[in-house]
Symmetry: C2
Subunit: 545 residues, 2 copies
């Protein structure tokens, strides 16, 4: 028996595009002599479809796609994820299902039982969990069909869940497992995923074909890395990360095992590639090609520019250099050097006059009051207006260049440097931004060394340095990581050896900055806890502040 | 037996404040000779606490509050909502519970079974549903303790759920029901709530004491309206909407019934009062007093200004009038007249020079290109910079003045008129904005008649009218309502008699504007489907666009 797996970049709601993509793969599979071709979770409509699922019309379009796929199955079987209507009135209206299509019929539907409802996931908002489990009989083999999270409760040891779908299915003695997934990237995810798959294979002693989604849907990046594992527990093959792939396997050979084709990609390379794909798909799926951003000469905008150039090409990235009276000479030079290294179009627009024009207008109200953060913000917002004007005039989407450390503590200007359609490095702590810059410069200097080595500064007042108002980034980032990713409270963080007043100050800054993050662009997610849809915090809360 | 109900304005995460508030009510109840005093759902920590619930430290603080409340119960019982740790590893970490405290002990804990996970609710993200049900025995009576949604599945006829907690509890023959709630306002909610309560009382033939939260938590407004219903199915008493209240009832008298003290408040008055409370609590709970907004002379900013003045007082509302070269004379006059009617401070800042300053800076890039939406946006964004400068300098929070119709179709400038800390009328369609204005003028003209009667215009280009680019608001609002609140698809809306091309165009505009709404302030929610946390849509989706 031959099994094809198609690792495809789906597009939410683009039923026609998704179908055409799958149809090509079906043809490829037929040419390869495959008996089954497998797609990923909710492949008809793309993942995550969110509240589109509440529209009858949307479900109907998914059903049409299933019907069109079914019509292709006269001599090949298709495994594909799609929503299914719950026929009884009790419970949620839909199931999240894996379909087995063959001989122009829907032969079997297995619903998903374990519905992730945490972090970025809202599956219980839409779906009823499966309560029945079976296997598909096909050409003398029995197949356990599973959907994503359903393989994540091995021996019922995952504290989140109370049933183990594969334990139920194993009563029917399946010959192999197919898992249709949409498993989002974080820099830890591929390893955890492979550990889970290995543990399943070890428990049931049968091979697994694991088909993941690849591509970004706004902030959520799917890394691909689909996997075939032999009963010996070894990775028979792992498909590439961050790109589409198609491959056909002979079940007997997979059963024999003996291969170990696991990929080894460093954390920083994965993050780099994830962000490049994140930008690429944000633009591609919205139907845009061109980006704009402000280059300050600092490291955040430099790293963002390199990622944009790698995602979209030099010809599609344009930058503005917008020095103020507080900008140092090296800033403009460093920014210009970077633009030249990248071969991207740049313009220099001094903002001093804009700042003066605003201050003159505000003078009747501000007369006699001291320079403070207000005047700093006017500079940042003047830049925002210029960048958005370029964006509106030329159709270049503005990229936000804020890093996770500054977004965490609210060190940024709403509608100023926090503007932009997508936040590229908003899930990257400052220290990781440096690591990315070093990684980018590995094969030759792209980002000017001075940009990396000079002390970070917003340059919004004379001789300003980040270190004037923030602790060293090594310390800041560690405390933030404990609070944000690890969800440790103040007591636990202080017990780790950090200064109590500093911890209190930082956690307070994080909590009082929720209103800013609420209005910031979606953040490309690469960690286990990114700002945005996966981290839901009250704005008017009075906790630690 | 005497039962006190305390309708309190809680504050998320403010454990000390919430406790002190409840302690006062306990003292009042003791003075009134009450046997039990009842609070609402998750009263220790405030509702909705969102991901704060994932912090061990946060749960510990709630437990401390329960301990402090327990210490007050030597001669009075307390019913109060709080999270409870799930002692077994399987399932979610917490329960959402009603506590019965008496004689300095936790006498009973009833967990919530029906966990709303739709619209603004994410309860299954945090809570495990109850699987056991009982009653509390207290001074010869048996009490059915329920939490909010648990009374919303009468006779198991709510298609969302598969169990009915009160059917389970009724096996123990309870004498009355206490429901601790946090039931958010929409203009339909009070009627639906009372219908559900009546239906429960009719089914079980026992009275119910229903204690709701009152107050706003960012965008979610709780309207109070706590209710006592007699076994005859009549409203023995309904506490006021939108303010705190405390009342003590004699159970025997409630049993007798015969009263019918239901409030009758019009839809538009409820919306008005909800928005005033929404503004008041947003400021109060963040520790701010003063607001700023731009007054254009149009109806949206006029209605917002009146609401702000009623919420915060004339002395705390300040406005800027920012005419451009495209503003008509009447705009400034109408705005000035409104400011004078409201007794609020206003300044006039012409933006023509700012616009020119930006255009001059952009000239090297824009030379030879036509005026388009770019130049319109520069005006809106210049105003945004001025307003935010005032906000930063004087600590006045900027109020967003966009209405639901324009937010729906993306008729607004990101970082311009879409700026602001809270969107006041972002859940009010344009036709409802007019109704609000008429309501405000009922006892004498506050909003100048010309503001209400003139054709709406953004005044961003010569002789611009909303009707140049949008259909009549009567039609637009109806189509939007069908799509947004009713979740009807294009086919169904066209079948209602609307032009197919118009419907397609409007639905497309809604869907391609998600990126703008993602970055807009939280919207005070008054309808059954507001933009924001209760409506989760993909940004890169390709559905109907």
């Amino acid at each position: 028996m031959k099994i094809s797996i198609a690792q495809i970049n789906y597009h939410i709601g683009n039923f026609e595009g998704n179908f055409n993509h799958m149809k090509e793969a079906v043809e490829q599979a037929k040419e390869a002599g495959a008996d089954i071709v497998c797609f990923s979770e909710l492949a008809t409509c793309g993942y995550p479809p969110r509240d589109f699922l509440e529209f009858e019309d949307f479900i109907r379009l998914s059903e049409e796609t299933i019907a069109k796929l079914t019509a292709l199955t006269d001599d090949i079987a298709i495994v594909v994820g799609a929503p299914t209507r719950n026929p009884v009135p009790e419970g949620k209206d839909l199931y999240n299902s894996a379909y087995f299509l063959y001989e122009n019929e829907i032969k079997y539907i297995q619903h998903k039982a374990l519905l992730p409802t945490y972090d970025i996931f809202d599956e219980y908002r839409y779906f009823e969990p499966a309560s029945a489990f079976g296997v598909v009989e096909f050409k003398g083999k029995k197949i356990a069909l599973t959907v994503c999270e359903d393989i994540w409760n091995i021996a019922n040891e995952n504290p989140l869940y109370t049933i183990s779908p594969l334990d139920e299915m194993s009563k029917y003695n399946p010959d192999f497992i197919i898992n249709t997934s949409a498993s989002p990237f974080s820099y830890k995810q591929a390893d955890e995923r492979k550990n889970i798959i290995r543990a399943n294979v070890a428990r049931y002693n049968i091979p697994m074909f694991y088909i993941n989604h690849v591509g970004a849907q706004t902030e959520i990046i799917f890394d691909g890395g689909s996997v075939v594992i032999s009963p010996d527990g070894k990775i028979y093959e792992e498909l590439p990360y961050f790109k589409e792939a198609f491959k056909t396997y002979d079940l007997d050979q997979v059963m024999q095992g003996g291969k170990n084709n696991e990929q080894s990609v460093s954390k920083i390379e994965k993050i780099h590639d994830a962000l490049v794909l994140g930008i690429k798909d944000y633009f591609g799926k919205l139907g845009f090609r061109k980006a704009i951003l402000g280059l300050s000469g600092g490291i955040d905008s430099a790293v963002t520019a390199v990622l944009a150039q790698r995602a979209l090409g030099s010809e599609n990235v344009r930058v503005l250099l917008m020095p103020s009276q507080f900008s140092s000479d090296h800033s403009v030079n460093d920014a210009r050097q970077l633009a030249e290294n990248l071969g991207i179009q740049y313009d220099i627009v001094e903002i001093k006059d804009l700042y003066s024009a605003f201050m003159q207008k505000l003078d009747p109200m501000f007369a006699g009051l001291d320079f403070n953060v207000t005047e700093e913000n006017i500079q940042a917002r003047s830049r925002g207006v210029l960048l958005m004007a370029m964006s509106n005039k030329f159709g270049n989407i503005l990229l936000n260049t804020s890093n996770k450390s500054e977004m965490a503590v609210g060190y940024g200007t709403l509608y100023g440097d926090l503007a932009g359609g997508i936040s590229v490095i908003g899930d990257i702590y400052k220290m990781e931004v440096y690591a990315l810059a070093e990684f980018m410069n590995k094969e030759g200097v792209v980002i000017p060394t001075n940009t990396i080595t000079k002390p970070p500064s917003a340059e919004l007042r004379p001789d300003q340095k980040d270190s004037d108002s923030l602790p060293d980034y090594e310390i800041l980032d560690t405390i933030l990581y404990q609070y944000i990713e690890q969800r440790k409270g103040p007591k636990e963080i202080i017990e780790m050896g950090y200064d109590a007043a500093l911890v209190a100050r930082i956690l307070r800054l994080v909590n009082i900055s929720e209103f800013k993050r609420y209005q910031t662009a979606p953040v490309l997610r690469v960690s286990t806890k990114a700002f945005g849809v996966g981290r839901r915090m009250p704005i008017v809360g009075k906790y630690l502040n």
